[in-house]
Symmetry: C2
């Protein structure tokens, strides 16, 4: 026993020595092997032992480090395909710029591809801010398609028309949806969607290679309410039905299940797919949205998330 213990101890000592020489002193494994009087392979084993025994601890002295941890944690916890967390600037309340830059980076990377892509977009302030961050580009090979209408029921344009703005910037073919966000009734919705142009656009959206959406909360500060798409009474009914969030105006409950009836009967936007095969990336920031984001992840309505540090903390500590 004592012999084995000593043996193990001295092996760990050597591992520590090797780890120190490698990570702190910057020696190569060959040099370590010479200094420790062992073969290079043994030196390699010692270094890797030092790592696997957790003798070496790496710390990253940069605000980004926390973001990476959070992102990693969210990926693990909710089975996301991707997650990016922007640092929250404690000074600036307009926390959008961080995520907007991140999202813009993602979008830009996709646009740089030579292969034609179909990019589907929802709406929302965060998404709009992201598009604003895009540089001028020339991407005629791609198509940008809207997931939902850009009209109020009375025909007025909605304030956050992301598709057209983006197409402006990057010079791509684009397909805004010539529909109101909500039809006046289920029948009207079906009627509208039977138009060939609308039908084509919905089909295009279904084939999208990547989808970016916003997530809205339901309640007093809900985008849908603030922007006048639903009334106070409808909001109350939705809350009573368990609604906590919405994506492209489709309202869902805590488990991420779409609410039956109510406004969902009249939503004209493309249907959400559960556990989509292609990336569906939500851009969403804010403590108010935490419940909605959680629900969307639980229900597999999205498989990617771009958010900020503060929101990510709440999502993980829930």
């Amino acid at each position: 026993m004592s012999t084995a213990g000593d043996h193990e101890t001295s092996r760990l000592d050597d591992a520590a020595r090797a780890g120190w020489l490698y990570y702190v002193a910057g020696n190569t494994q060959d040099e370590i092997a010479r200094k420790l009087g062992v073969s290079r392979q043994s030196a390699q084993r010692l270094v890797s032992l030092a790592v696997s025994e957790k003798l070496v601890k790496v710390r990253l002295d940069h605000p980004i480090a926390r973001c990476m941890e959070l992102s990693h944690g969210l990926v693990e916890k909710f089975g996301l395909a991707s997650c990016e967390v922007a640092p929250s600037d404690p000074g600036a309340p307009a926390a959008l710029t961080g995520v907007a830059q991140l999202a813009a980076g993602d979008i830009e990377r996709i646009l740089k591809s030579d292969h034609p892509k179909i990019i589907a977009l929802g709406t929302g302030r965060a998404l709009r801010a992201s598009v604003e961050q895009l540089p001028k580009m020339d991407c005629p090979q791609h198509r940008i398609v809207s997931l939902l209408g850009n009209m109020m029921s009375d025909g007025a344009a909605t304030p956050y028309n992301v598709v057209i703005r983006m197409a402006d910037r990057v010079n791509a073919r684009h397909y805004p949806m010539p529909l109101p966000v909500f039809a006046r009734s289920m029948e009207e919705k079906l009627l509208l969607q039977q138009q060939e142009a609308v039908h084509n656009i919905l089909e295009l959206a279904r084939q999208a290679d990547v989808t970016f959406v916003g997530i809205g909360n339901i309640g007093d500060n809900a985008p849908l309410l603030v922007d006048g798409f639903v009334s106070r009474e409808e909001t109350r009914a939705l809350i009573k039905a368990g609604a906590v969030g919405e994506i492209t105006s489709w309202v869902f409950d805590r488990s991420g299940t779409l609410i039956d009836g109510l406004t969902n009967d009249r939503v004209a936007s493309a249907v959400l797919q559960i556990a989509p095969a292609k990336p569906v990336i939500a851009i969403a920031v804010g403590i108010l949205k935490v419940e909605a984001i959680l629900a969307a992840m639980r229900g597999r309505l999205i498989n990617g998330l771009i958010t900020d540090e503060a929101t990510a903390e709440h999502l993980l500590n829930h």
Copy 2:
């Protein structure tokens, strides 16, 4: 200015991201390149930037880590060719075992060589303890030579006969020095050294491929005094002449310069070389010896050191 700053910042952010993915998440640089949307070379540059900008900090969770730092510090500060520091066991007062094992490891490594080597040995408790740690070996190709006599002036054997003990263990040719440590006078010393055998041994010692010595302090607890080689009066005279330490009974002052006259006139051991070309490694432990070790390093009487943590701390904080 603001643009440049932003640019630099975002570059560092990316570097931090890359560093995190590499060191914390264990990604390969290829994966990082894909995730960050840059070329593999750029990913490599980002990782190395994160290192050179000190964003990644590596810590080693093992007592050895401190020893490695101390060793590195001593090498730098005193221009040593090598330095090893054994962990001090706060519980055990007999701090010798740590350094003894280290030294034994060094010696063993040399003995394993197929090329014939000449190993010169001094005396001392630490050196003796090291030899005790040697395993049984069979090394007829090497020669072990003593740097100094193993007799008291009256012909009695000295207690720490390292060479014979070591030769016992490793079965190597050995050359103990058939001389007293101190002759009775300078004339007697010269006479003794003219014997052919002695002359040959001294020449062999001069050619040694590697030399291991102990370092003694001068004073009340000095090995020379305790073991009865010098008298109290001689000790007093030496101290008055500035003596702080000795190696193979050659006494030197604070600057590592050999003291003129006194006992040095009568030392029969091989002369110390200043700034030796081959490794001359001292094995020395203890707060009492700090002054002596410092002096030996200053005077370039040694170019290698094996000591323990506590002693190393004192050497560096001096």
